[in-house]
């Protein structure tokens, strides 16, 4: 049973190692710390969004608004810095609570009116994307000494790797989320909601508070991802992050989290994003393949993983039913 629970995680880890090994065997310089550190810094924003998405999906929900929230927070921050001459830290301090409020609103709608998270966050997605475009249709460039300092900040790994601010932010967030999910009551409540929200309520789980907090966290993490994205591009653009919610969902599923909720691990999601990143890196190293091959491979992987999940959960259900027979 334990092995069944961890099986998707192991498969993802094994695939990651396998692909990395193949790349290293085929191409010079593939199996290097530089490539590994780039995987993290190039995908830091996706990793951060996917952390929040993991929480949401484990609780049995979904958050389609995160891609648009990334764009909105990026554009808003860029405008505040470039046009209104705010200090970046001040801009961040404004945008994060606003994102929290946005998430809380979605959480309240989902809990109070018993609405589908899918449709509520879809509305949130249109709202955020629309707002971002209204703020600025053009890309807004950021030119600020703080951003230069951020870009410089970090340390070199042996072999040419670079651990920058984005990677560090991600690692800190990752540790926080792991502690939250596995060592706090809130984390247990998230799993409880995904297992069976009715039972959870009868067992005294504060369903309202937990649901709202989940969507607040997801929106705040998305806004943070938007900020990290501006570190990467030195600009904010209303059409940034289109479809990124789907990348995040794909990473979560590839990482072994059940879309029906109740089961999954944050670390699996990290492996999922890295696996997608390694596929991309492989295609870049190869040079002859179109970058769309990334999508094709991810599509195939997703098919494989959802079938695997179905098979595993059916087997679990059968063993439970058999266990029940003996006692009636």
């Amino acid at each position: 049973m334990m092995s069944v629970r961890y099986l998707p995680l192991w498969i993802t880890a094994a695939l990651l190692c396998l692909l990395f090994g193949i790349g290293g065997w085929q191409f010079d310089g593939f199996a290097s710390l530089a490539v590994v550190s780039n995987l993290f810094s190039d995908n830091a924003f996706l990793l951060i969004v996917a952390l929040g998405m993991t929480l949401v999906i484990i609780s049995g929900g979904i958050d389609l608004s995160v891609g648009a929230v990334i764009a909105l927070s990026g554009v808003a921050v860029s405008l505040l810095i470039s046009q209104y001459q705010w200090h970046p830290l001040l801009a961040f301090a404004l945008i994060l609570p606003v994102a929290a409020l946005f998430g809380a609103l979605m959480g309240v709608l989902i809990h109070v009116y018993k609405l589908q998270p899918f449709i509520v966050t879809l509305a949130g997605m249109f709202l955020a994307r629309g707002l971002a475009t209204t703020l600025s249709e053009e890309s807004v460039a950021i030119d600020h000494s703080f951003y230069d300092a951020i870009a410089e900040f970090g340390f070199v790994l042996p072999g040419g790797g670079w651990v920058g601010a984005s990677t560090m932010i991600f690692i800190v967030l990752l540790l926080l989320v792991i502690v939250l999910m596995h060592y706090s009551r809130f984390g247990t409540y998230v799993y409880a909601l995904g297992g069976n929200s009715q039972s959870a309520e009868l067992m005294g789980v504060p369903v309202a508070r937990t649901t709202i907090a989940i969507y607040v966290l997801s929106s705040v993490l998305a806004a943070l991802a938007g900020i990290v994205f501006t570190f990467y591009t030195f600009s904010g653009y209303a059409l940034a992050g289109v479809g990124m919610e789907l990348d995040a969902i794909a990473a979560v599923v590839i990482g072994g989290t059940l879309l029906t909720g109740g089961s999954g691990f944050v670390i699996g999601t990290v492996l999922g994003v890295l696996l997608m990143g390694v596929i991309q890196t492989y295609i870049i190293f190869d040079g002859s393949l179109s970058s769309w091959w990334t999508k094709i491979v991810i599509g195939l992987l997703l098919f494989g993983f959802i079938v695997l999940q179905k098979v595993l959960s059916r087997r679990t259900a059968l063993t439970t039913a058999a266990g029940g027979t003996a006692h009636g």
Binding site: M2, E201, M203, G204, V205, P206, G323, T325, H327
Partner: protein, 499 residues
Amino acid sequence: MTTPSLVLELKQVCKHFPGVKALQDVDLRLFAGEVHALLGENGAGKSTLVKVMTGALAKSSGDIYFNGQNCSFASPAAAQQAGISTVYQEVNLLPNLSVAQNLFLGHEPRRFGLIQHQKMQQQAQQLLLRFKLNIDVSAPLAQYSVAVQQLIAIARGVAMSAKVLVLDEPTASLDSSEVQMLFDVMRQLREQGVAIVFITHFLDQVYQISDRITVLRNGSKVGEYLAADLPRARLIEAMLGKELQQLTHQAATTTPAVAEPLLVLNNIAVKGSISGISLTVAQGQAVGLAGLLGSGRTEVCRAVYGVDVLSQGEIQFGGKTLRLQQPADAIKAGIALCPEERKTEGIIGPLSIRENIMLARQARRGWWRYLPVKQQQQLAAFYIDKLHIATPDADKPIEQLSGGNQQKVILARWLAINPQLLILDEPTRGIDIGAHAEILLLIKSLCQQGMSLLVTSSELEELVAFAAKVVVLRDWQKVTELSGDTMTAPHIMQAIAEG
């Protein structure tokens, strides 16, 4: 013994659902250090009362006093906080969490705000030792059998409870040694002054452990008794009431002479469910299926209707062997089913009464041959009149009708295609006593017209009233078959309990 103090008192509590009065002016007194049995037939309102008492449902009116203070709990969490914990009838735990997490959810031992997993698992292990359960508490709950899960649910209730512990049918899936273990724990708790509400169908168990008994019937309180002063016969009388007995006499007519068998189940089994079930339903005969929740009643109905595919055995219908892959095959053969879960599997809420009645008829005609509206209206009017469906007009959404009337609409849906065999799974569950009687009489008259029926019901008096014979199920297997003089409610109850 010192004078016990009143812990929880309910005064004139009412709970209304649309179309159903689930609780009507119910009083309940619960003293510290007693085991108080709450008894009544299915649908008497026990579970509703428990839910109102523990904050899972809001009461419509009335007062609840806890430790002398008027209060009503807004949520199960609030009730737990105050010291009332509940083990619900169906295991309400989280299969995806570990045993230890289930035991301590919301009460985990923490240091600096972080859960101490090791300490929690040690405490869980100790707690379960009281129930002689020595299992891996870090494994997911789903791994364990229903009986173990039930014990874990009870252990959670025990661990949480300060003042009041409510056990709703805790022994349904336990064997006798497990039941004795549970009773030992209950006695310990009673010594410690905990008030225990104990709901069960097993009357032996009631007399073994209870101090006092409150009986409910049709959502009202019949009386409160000291267990020692209430003979079993009077208890059963209080639970069953007179109404059904009168009905029994009214409906009891001679069954027609032995007719051709219509449905023959030959040793059928469904993987992971029922096994080795054989029974025969003759033309124009009503056969009852009795047993507790989870005994396999519903599963037999589903198998005959083609919802679950057989893994073994065969179904003969009208002399031919049926190979059912899906309900459509059964309908084609002339079999219809009114399911137990009326709300989710029977009615289509937003559609009108007329549309709900037409569904099966239209499906049989084929969807491309639309039944003219005029003809539909005539048919709907015919059945509304024939079955006394109380509605001002046929175009009202069915979800606005009461439970009894919804049930009649579903019956009309199948009568409109005139099936040879009609399966009714708990046809009278949750409907008021008037509609109840009408449905029973209808069943009777359908039999006389030559239709065969297979009916499950938890209300044994009701089964006895119309069935030619009753098949008793337990643990997904057939226990016995009763007919003639042996077919009485006490006999059936005994068969259900003892096998």
